[in-house]
Symmetry: C2
Subunit: 211 residues, 2 copies
């Protein structure tokens, strides 16, 4: 046994970077193991700091959880909004862009774990769940609703119950993301190709919406 190998790397002071690194590590572990089963020491270790450092930036485990969710909502909502406003082509294309865009930008990134995390922990953190609903779910629904409505107004889609259809349409994509962080990893399952899955979903959907 030598005392000099794998010596801990020298301390670094990086006040700016820490919070991001900590929430990123927390997101990974919370989605993997769940909130209660994740130890703060593991989060700190993954972020390359000690547990004490974590408490310099977050008041408590719960505050860290909140930060993870708050941070997870920022990106891409505006992306979708501008896409909606600037899009020129058919409503089908718009719908496809919105759904595929979500998958590629968020679903496939670590942020794709947020829906699973929210599903698992909503009951234990009703405040955070309400926040998430207001700032993510509802705006997302509005986006899809407008796209659907546009297609119906232009006669490209037949009339449907828009409020319900929005959730029906998004469910498969959501499940795709949730799957990734739950049953998916436990079994090989290379056959579950996301692209084929989304293509099939889209094919069924567009045909189902035709007048």
């Amino acid at each position: 046994m030598s005392l000099c190998d794998s010596a801990d790397p020298p301390r670094r002071r990086r006040k700016e970077a820490r919070p991001q690194e900590l929430t990123a590590a927390a997101l990974e572990l919370f989605t993997e193991r769940g909130f209660a089963a994740t130890r703060l020491e593991d989060i700190a270790a993954r972020a390359g700091v000690s547990k004490g450092t974590l408490y310099l930036y977050f008041d408590s485990k719960e505050a860290l959880f909140e930060a993870v969710i708050r941070e997870g909502i920022i990106p891409a909502m505006n992306e979708g909004r501008t896409m909606l406003e600037e899009h020129q082509g058919s409503a089908s294309e718009l719908l496809r862009c919105l759904l595929l865009g979500w998958w590629e930008l968020l679903g496939e990134s670590p942020l794709g774990g947020v829906p699973k995390l929210m599903v698992s922990e909503a009951g234990n953190f009703p405040k955070v769940a309400a926040f998430y609903r207001e700032n993510v779910i509802d705006p997302g629904r509005a986006l899809l609703r407008e796209a659907l409505q546009r297609g119906m107004d232009q006669g490209e889609f037949r009339p449907v119950d828009v409020g319900m259809a929005v959730d029906v349409i998004f469910a498969p994509i959501l499940m795709l993301a949730v799957w990734r962080y739950s049953i998916g990893p436990c079994c090989a399952e290379e056959e579950r190709d996301p692209v084929r899955f989304l293509d099939t979903h889209f094919d069924l959907l567009i045909k189902g919406l035709r007048p």
Copy 2:
């Protein structure tokens, strides 16, 4: 303060009934709070026994979890199988029966919480997840696949990627069940009427499958 009110009910010896009552209580609490955040004492209390009694019937918290899942798979899989074999009408009707049947028999019962529980805890219990996949997910997929295939063979449905379509089709129903035990309760949302939701899903689906 009187000492005689709310006196504990007299002890009862009910060896036969305990395991069921314990797994039922455990299912409720696990789905509500998650595995790690649920205390065995709370489960025992909800089942009307002490923590010690729990250990007469289950070796550990994990064993109890396994029992909850194992028990959750028994019902209704056979129901679906016989439905498939005996059904005479159109493939659309068969599909509707299978999907609505699942919702009414399982989704709306406490067993509807099992998917959320599995999603949340699969990562921590890969063995149980594999068991669930083998005994619930795969047979369920097979059922839907056969129904779809029948419709395609009879020319009632157009050709689609069956393996993918099965998951696409079931996703909204799964989400409906998962929702109930996660974000759902945290906000009023009486507008999310399951019947309307399923009708919309089915409407889109059948139209989407037409040749």
